[in-house]
Symmetry: C2
Subunit: 263 residues, 2 copies
């Protein structure tokens, strides 16, 4: 076991910054629950940092040993330093850095799942993580981030994903590349919009279904709506005419899979 | 129009703190969109603070004038001070303080809406705001916060509600008080749980339906589940067995209202 290492601490802490994540090709995950989820999905960290208390949990010590056996770094440190690394008042006893997987479209095998999320220019990393978590629950394959988005490998996104960052595939692409890729195979592109009267409950969804979610502020650009095979509306009863992006994604996803279960 | 007032700035800024909100009975809302939503719901602020740029928008200047006419304070300040008040890098041009409405159960008229949210010990103010926003979209009456919860009048909750803090009713109560109140009239209490095989799609929901949402970490305590008229399960396809609390609330709410539209 590596002794306390200032360099490692600094390196982990730097991963809170997007530029460092890009340069290192790593991202942070925190807490035993998520790190165990990663291991169950066949992923071990490159670096794991833990407090003496953190290492006492049998599952944690198993993962620490497996990380070292696989050539990774395992570093014991203090709760105080863990707290500074995770940026939380209530520190996790484990913080780990993982390799970022490839995020090009060619890494996506659309036959792997009947449902995929496609999100355009999402700004809020919490929404990205929440969509990944929903995707895991609903049996989706992953999330394709179109245009300039928040970083799915940020600490906030990984945290909100509750481990789904390890089970859902993530790809990034400009819209035109995504559209060319989509049309190179089968797939129904479904957009939610206010510019249609078609109720989301009355549509036959055909797998693989790609659910297109608009940006938090503006919704989908018109040309993106025009590229959809189906536009649907989630009827709104209230004064406002919008849902949170992750909420809209979930309402659509559960309706799509419910319609498949019912048929 | 009141001149620049240091006292007012300090007073508004203090409302970022829960203790001050409680003492003053006020809460903060930011940005023209939400402040206009409040006005459309018949609510004017006690205090409104704006930059010269913020006051130039016709709708903003109308609300500023209406606030003064109603005896409120209107204070022009700098974008820098607005930024410090709102705690955001990208400052809103308007920040306003509103009276907190009463949050006792007796203020809730259950016949006003067919659907209500009940949430137990929610920790994340963003989840509270998102549930309010969803409630507005789905035609719910409001949110009853059971046990010790995050503050629905925090800046984060008000922001995530996107104005629904002004259109949805909010009540707070200990569980036993809520249960007594619920049983004093009609209402179906529906809990989501892993401890049932009853699919959420196969249940007949009877208005007024009260959707009970568990805490982010533990879900519902067993005795709370036992008090429900119906327990339902949202089937999960993935590795994880849970949804974000606000997502679960939305999936349930849209299914309940969809079942009513279909019948």
């Amino acid at each position: 076991m590596t002794a306390f290492s200032n360099t490692t601490v600094k390196r982990l802490r730097s991963l809170r910054d997007k530029k460092a994540r890009k340069e290192e090709g790593l991202f942070l995950a925190e807490g035993l629950r998520i790190i165990a989820e990663a291991r169950d999905s066949g992923r071990l960290p490159e670096i794991i940092m833990f407090s003496p208390e953190g290492a006492r949990h049998p599952l944690a010590s198993e993962i620490i040993a497996a990380t070292e056996a696989a050539g990774g770094d395992a570093v014991q440190t203090t709760p105080d330093i863990l707290s500074k690394t995770s940026g939380k008042d209530n520190p996790q006893m484990l913080v780990a850095a993982y390799k970022q997987p490839a995020t090009d479209l060619s890494s996506i095998d659309r036959t792997r799942a009947p449902l995929w999320f496609v999100a355009q220019a999402l700004r809020d990393p919490g929404n990205i993580g929440t969509i990944l978590r929903t995707g895991d629950a609903v049996g989706a394959g992953g999330l394709i981030l179109v245009d300039d988005s928040a970083d799915p490998y940020s600490v906030e996104a990984a945290r909100a994903s509750m481990g789904a960052i390890f089970t859902q595939q993530v790809a990034k692409a400009p819209w035109s590349d995504f559209l060319a890729w989509l049309r190179s195979g089968e797939g129904q592109l479904v957009g939610t919009s206010l510019n249609t009267d078609q109720d989301y409950l009355s549509v036959t969804y055909l797998p693989p279904t790609f659910l297109l979610i608009g940006n938090e502020q503006q919704g989908l650009p018109q040309s993106y709506e025009e590229a959809c095979d189906v536009l649907v509306k989630i009827p709104m009863a209230g004064r406002a005419d919008s849902l949170n992006a992750a909420i809209a994604a979930a309402v659509m996803a559960f309706q799509v899979t419910a319609s498949w279960r019912a048929s």
